[in-house]
Each structure stands twice: as C-alpha cells, then as structure tokens.
Subunit: 434 residues, 2 copies
C-alpha cells in the first residue's frame, strides 16, 4: 500500500523531532500502522536550515499554504505555534478536507470550538495528543480509556518548566529568581518565560483537559490563572514543615453548580505520588467515579517526547485511513503479518543484578573465598553487609552488579557446596528501572 | 440510533460490575459513544441470583451458547473465566461474526494466537483492556499511545493481591503467612490464592504486555515465573536497609538476542515511583526509545475498576460501529451535540483549603482576633504554626479546612486592615487529592 502523505508546518523543536522519529523508527511504525508514513512537504522560514536536516527527501518551502494546498497531502501537522497564522493554516487545511495533527495548545484553548466545528462538518480528524503533557497519552486515556466514567476531578503537573523550578527551589533552598536564571541557562526555560511561569501554558492545557473530562466547550477565558513568579522560598519551607509540597497544579472539578477550572501553586501532601513528581516531568491524576484515581506520568515536553505524541496521532489517522474499521488497531499492536519471531530467552540468559543472602561460619577467609568464586565467573559485587548471628555464625548479604543468570547459578552451586556455608543461598533479582 | 446490543457471559464480580457501570452511567456513556449500549442477554449458572440484579431487563439463561447465537447481539462479553468453556464460547462468537470483549488474561495468554487469528479472518474485534491492570488503560496506551516508539522494556506491578501482601509485610513486619491469612479474611486474596501468590496471574498479564510492546506472538509457556510465597520477612528488612523495596514485578525487555520475560520478587530502589505503589494498587512503567519512561497507575482489579475497562472496550467497539471512521472518537471526547453548558465557576465560588501566612505584632490577643475574623465567615482552622521574627514580631501560618474562596477574600480583607498585621497575607491553596 502506498505511504500516507504528511505535510509539516514548522520544523523547529517539535517538527524536527517528528522528522527524526518518523525516520529512525520508520520500520517499527509501519509494522504498527500497516503503512508507511511519509513527510512530503515542509514549510519553514529558514529553508536552508531545514534542508540540512531533511536533504532532498521532501519539498521545503516558505509558504505554509503551499503545503496545505498540495492535493496529495493527506495529513497536515501544525507545529508552527501561535494563534494567528496557525489558525488560518489549520482552517484552510480543514476546508480542503485534510486531517490535522497539532501540538498547539494555545491555538486550541482559544479557537478549539471553531476548529472542531469546522472539522466535524468536513469529516476530518483533528488530533492533539502532543498539546497536553507531551509524550504521555493522556488525551487518549481520557477520550477513550475512561469512557465508562463520570470524571469527578483531575489534577495535573502539566508544565515542566515550573515543576523544574519548584523542585530546585525546594531541594536547594534557592529563590525563584535564582532558579529561573539557571533554568534559562540550561534550556529548561525560554528566554521569555512568561507563559510558563505565569501559568498560562498550564491553563491552555487544563482548559482542554476539562473539556475532555466533562464534555463542555473549550473556555480558556474562564480559567483562573496564578503562576509561581511571586512564590516565596519561605512558603516552600513552611509547607514542607507542615508535611506538604508546593506544585503548580492545573485543577478542575465538576460540582453540581458548575466546574472549577484553576491553575495556581498548590500545597499537596508530601506522600502523594503527584507531590513526588520532580524536575521537568509531568503527571496527570484523573478521578473517575467507577475506576477511582488513575495517574499518568512521563516527559511533558522536549523534542522527542512531544514528537512521540505527534507520531502516535499520525498512526491513529493512518490506521483509520488504511483498514476497515474492524481492523483499525491490530490485536497485538502490530499488524498480524508484521509479528516477528524474536525468541524469548531462557532464564539462564537473563541479565539482572542480584541480592544474595547466606549464613556462614564467622571466621576469617570465608568472605574472601566466596568473593573469589563470584569473581571467577565474572560477577562483581556492588555492596555487602555482614551481620553476626549468634556466637559463631554470620549472615552475609551481597548486592551484585549486572550479571548473567547462568553465571550466578554456577557460582551459587559452588558456594552452596562450601562447608562453612550453613544455609541455602537466597537469591533475589534487582532492577534499577529509571 | 438504536442501541448496540451486548451479551454478557457471566455476571460475577466483573459481570455484575459491568451491569452496574452501564446502568449508572448510561447517560454519560451514550454522550461519549454516540449510542446507547444495552445488555440484551446474560448467561450464568445461577439464574435466580442474576435475576435479583437485572430484573426483567435482559434475558437470563444458563447456556452461554444461547447468548452467543442470538442474531441480534453485536458484542459478546466473556467474563466467565477459565480457558475451556470460555475458549469455546469466544471461538463460537467470532465464528458468528460477533465482536468480543474479555477480561480473561488466562485465556488470552494461552490461546491468544488462535483467537486473534480467527478474529482477524472474520473481521471482528477482540478487545481485552480489562485483562491487564484492571481500570488502567494500559493496553490502549501501548497499542495506540506509544506507537511512535521502539519499546525497550516494561516493568509492572500487575497483581494487586501480592502487592497488598508485600506492602503489609514491610509496613508491619509480618510474615508472608500471617498477611496472607489476613488478606483472605479481608477479601483481598482468594480462598485458593495459588495463581496470585505464585506469580501465574502476573505472568498471564505480562505475556500479553510483552506481545503488545514488542510485536511477538503470545508465549506464556516461555515466561519465567516465581511468586512470593517463599519470600522471607528478613529479606524485606535487609533490602530496606540497603535502600530497596521488594515488589513482585512483571519485567520484560528487548535485547538484540531475544526477549526477557520474567515475573519474580524484585528489589527496586526505594525512591522510584514503582517502589511507592502500595496496597492493592497496580502500576506499569513503559520505556520507549523516543518518549522515555512513562508510568500508568490505578486500581488493577475489583468490580467497578475492572468493569470500567470492559465498558471502555464496549464504547470503542460501539464508536467504530456507529460513526464513519473520521468521526470515530469525538474531538472533545463527547459527541459534538452532547456537549453541555455547565458553567465554569468564578474563582470566588471555588472551594479549597488554604495556607495563610502573615507577619504580626507579637502580643497577646492578636491570634484570637484573627481567628475570630476567620470564624465569623465560617472558616475553620486545621493547624497553625507561629514563629518569632525578631524581638517584637511573629509569623503566623494557618492551614484552613475547606472554605469558599469568596469568604477567604472577605476575611483576608478584614485581617489586612488590622493595625497589628504588618504584612500582606500570603494565600496559597491546598488540595488533598487521593
Ligand atoms: N517545544 C516543546 O517541547 C513543545 C511541547 C509541546 C507542544 N509544543 C507546541 O508545538 C508548537 C511548536 O513548538 P516548537 O517548540 O517546535 O517551536 P519552534 O522550535 O519555535 O519551531 C517553530 C517552527 O515553525 C516555523 N515557522 C515559524 N513561523 C513560520 C512561518 N510564518 N512560516 C513558516 N514556518 C514558520 C519555524 O521556522 P524556522 O525554523 O525557519 O524559524 C520553526 O521551524 C507550539 O505550538 C508549541 O506550543 C512544543
Ligand atoms: N475479579 C476481578 O477483579 C477481575 C479483574 C480482572 C479480570 N478478571 C477476570 O474476569 C473474569 C471473570 O472474573 P470474576 O471475578 O467476575 O469471576 P466470578 O465472580 O467467579 O464470576 C464468574 C461468572 O461466570 C458465571 N459462570 C461460571 N461458569 C459458568 C457456566 N458454565 N455457564 C454460565 N455461566 C457461568 C458465574 O455464574 P454464577 O454467578 O451463576 O455462578 C459467574 O456469574 C476472569 O477471567 C477473571 O480472570 C477479574
């Protein structure tokens, strides 16, 4: 089947990321989507710069409308940003019957109702997973995963810049201005950080989430917005003494008489998962009346995580354009004819770190002998504790570095045979995750 | 549009929950799905018991095949469990061109390849969100949300019973057998808990997740499985001293030479989010090469959370049967003509708890005067700390119980006007979440 054709409006952070994801994972994506996804045209201001990334593999032009009007383009991806030109381009794409994918929360928070109405009438999709919480599939979760629920409330850390600043203020006892300057140096905050630090970006996203959760039109102008720029270091300290952390939350709740829609610094009990979302990470907690609370966590911005969401939307549209409805999503995520035969490894071939505990005779040389056996099969020890047990014995616990399970097996067999080892060796595996 | 018709095979924990969710949230579900979802027939062993729940609103019979063969039924929901009768019923439903929704991980982990092949040939959907991690939309996340990624590895707490037992063993220093007995009393563990505590249930689920993540056929027989029944209390203590918690993880990873697929008690660094998933909760951490790590958390079992996933699958199938593909999922989750006009509340009408900080003259009576003003507008104080500032002043911090923002405003105005209050009042909101 011929590739589906995509036009990119913008090739900046998100656009460049989208290009990279589509290129690097072309194979894997086609195995899932059932068809290749090909970028045929790109609009940017600086054509030379764009050429450096994409070479001759796509048309590169200065005029977004040229891309939107190409009859062979099936999907237009708007990643220019802003709400003037972007709006015109999106409306034109819809008018021409193109599906639209966008990461532009400002555009949708302000003009979503108009855009969705036009798209509905034309029978095209407007997908915007990348507009909220970057790579976390939170829009899909609410729109499709929690459809059985009356959603009661939703709370999100949906701006990475402010969460990074708050995390640093707390961890290092710095003031807002000190951390902001550093965040700008590190690229975590824009040169003009107003939209982030004043809560506007979070409010754009929250506005979309509230509509998805409660089934109301997009109403950004009704959101209450407070940022973190006037937050005092001492309030973070007091809050911590009282058992709370301060987070910039987007919070929306359905009550009988209306909907609360608000972004502001918020004290959250320190033991909650949301309170422990640190640095530039994002997380959204959604409470449904049937499912209870569910939480979604991941990177909320950046080149590749945001592009991950853009491309997921492209796959969604592609799947619908490609298969009959019943085959829209393959049972096991990959097309049935694209499953592969990578073997499942036997347990001896698994690699892991290990926790090993054994009881031994407490006498010089014992530890050396055991360590020697481990070293013989190439297992290195990360840490060790030894605890006396009664008068003559001791428990020894090793944490190893990563090793092959089969090597652990043979070492443990030799260790178990030593006369001064008085117990079976307890072996547990250890994973450091992220 | 006429309702879509569903047949339930089983009306136990999950079946009863499905009935309740469809009944209680019928309105909300139709607003999202674009059509009512109606249970027309139910098969159970004990017809009388079933009648008590459903009355005359659906046919109730003893023979599952009778339900599967009813020509007017569009979707068959298999929630009987087991892999003999359930398999026959599912295959018969597929042969008759019905879409299938199931919560049965044992069935799919063993016979998934056969079932999916038959369904593909017949052009019917087989949806199984409820089979893994209950109400958490983890299958949708992997199958549709992370399609841009080569998934690298995945780690999950996907059995609530064992996570509850491990949490209690650690928190209360009890042995496995002590906690198991209690879990059985509380209904967190079955009378025969073998499948849970020996890791078999987690391995069924992990098998499905690995196929979704890596695009390989379902291969339950290759999974390495160790449970928690022989885990010693002292290893939990040693692990904690070393900075780790022990969790029963399902872990699967793609390497160049093959796939690791294993369920076993695992040491996880104590500061990781997964290490802090307590009690019967579930969580799955998925690492994609583009998006990085993402985490999904919620209730992994139980009547309503599991039914939430069953009904989400029903909505998915319904949406595809109802709309043209472009309108499959409404832009804002609810059908455009089903949006409603619930107002967004002005900030004065919002209810929250508050953190209030002010600098005051340090003299008797000051606290009483401020507390009086708060009490006058009905605001009660949860806790208070006072800190001397220099010789003559003090900082007072109040945490209030929930109050109306407008009442806080008027109290703060009066407090701000007091001569002995020397600063603006800093006001932050506080949410306890879950
Ligand atoms: N960055 C993130 O992490 C992130 C995350 C989520 C959502 N988003 C959203 O994604 C969108 C794009 O953000 P970004 O960070 O990728 O922005 P960016 O790096 O500034 O890129 C913007 C791109 O649009 C092009 N462009 C600007 N004006 C144009 C015009 N008049 N005609 C043609 N091309 C034009 C630019 O071309 P030149 O390169 O030639 O200047 C550039 O390629 C925004 O809506 C943003 O809110 C971003
Ligand atoms: N419980 C959970 O939290 C949970 C979570 C995720 C997935 N699941 C899965 O969901 C499935 C159902 O679990 P469950 O907990 O709901 O089981 P359950 O409470 O034991 O219910 C089983 C139902 O099937 C009916 N049934 C059994 N044999 C039958 C037969 N031969 N003909 C007709 N009906 C028959 C039973 O009828 P009677 O009522 O008349 O006996 C009962 O209504 C299982 O595959 C399980 O693994 C369960």
């Amino acid at each position: 089947m011929s590739p589906i054709k995509v036009g990119l409006l913008g090739l900046g952070v998100v656009g460049g990321g989208t290009w990279k994801v589509l290129t690097r994972n072309a194979e894997e994506i086609a195995r899932r989507a059932g068809r290749r996804i090909e970028v045929s045209a790109i609009a940017v201001r600086d054509v030379e710069k764009a050429r450096k990334l994409v070479g001759d593999q796509a048309q590169v032009c200065r005029d977004g409308f040229e891309v939107v009007r190409r009859p062979d383009i099936d999907i237009v991806v708007e990643i220019i940003g802003g709400d003037t030109l972007a709006r015109e381009l999106v409306m034109e794409a819809i008018a021409r019957g193109k599906h639209v994918v966008t990461a532009n929360k400002a555009l949708l928070a302000k003009h979503g109702n108009e855009i969705f109405a036009a798209a509905h009438q034309k029978g095209v999709m407007v997908a915007f997973e990348a507009a909220v919480a970057g790579g976390i599939p939170i829009i899909k979760a609410i729109r499709e995963g929690l459809t059985a629920n009356r959603i009661q409330w939703l709370a999100g850390i949906i701006n990475g810049t402010t969460n990074f600043i708050l995390s640093e203020m707390r961890a290092r006892g710095l003031s807002f201005n000190e951390v902001l300057a550093e965040a700008q140096r590190l690229g975590y905050a824009e040169a003009d950080p107003t939209f982030d630090i004043e809560g506007v970006d979070a409010a754009h996203k929250l506005t979309l989430l509230a509509s998805l959760a409660f089934g109301v039109p997009v109403q950004f102008d009704k959101a209450h917005i407070e940022g973190i720029s006037s937050l005092a270091r001492e309030d973070i300290v007091h809050a911590e003494r009282l058992g709370y952390r301060i987070k910039l939350l987007g919070f929306t709740r359905r009550r009988n008489d209306g909907i609360e829609l608000r972004v502001h610094p918020t004290l959250v009990p320190a033991e909650r998962l949301l309170a422990n979302v640190e640095g530039a990470m994002n997380a959204v907690l959604v409470s449904g009346d049937m499912v209870g609370p569910t939480l979604y966590y991941g990177q909320g911005a950046g080149e590749l995580p945001t592009a991950s969401a853009v491309v997921a939307d492209l796959v969604d549209v592609t799947r619908l354009q490609t298969a009959d409805p019943e085959h829209r999503v393959p049972y096991l995520a990959f097309q049935p004819d694209a499953l592969d035969d990578t073997p499942i490894l036997p347990i001896e071939e698994v690699r892991s770190s290990y926790y090993l505990r054994m009881r031994v005779l407490d006498r010089p040389g014992v530890l050396a002998d055991i360590a020697r056996i481990l070293a013989d099969v190439g297992i290195s020890i990360g840490s060790m504790i030894q605890e006396p047990h009664g008068e003559t014995e001791a428990d020894i616990i090793f944490l190893t570095h990563e090793a092959r399970e089969g090597d652990i097996d043979s070492a443990l067999q030799r260790i178990g045979a030593l006369a001064f080892v008085h117990s079976d060796v307890t072996r547990l595996r250890m994973e450091h995750l992220i």
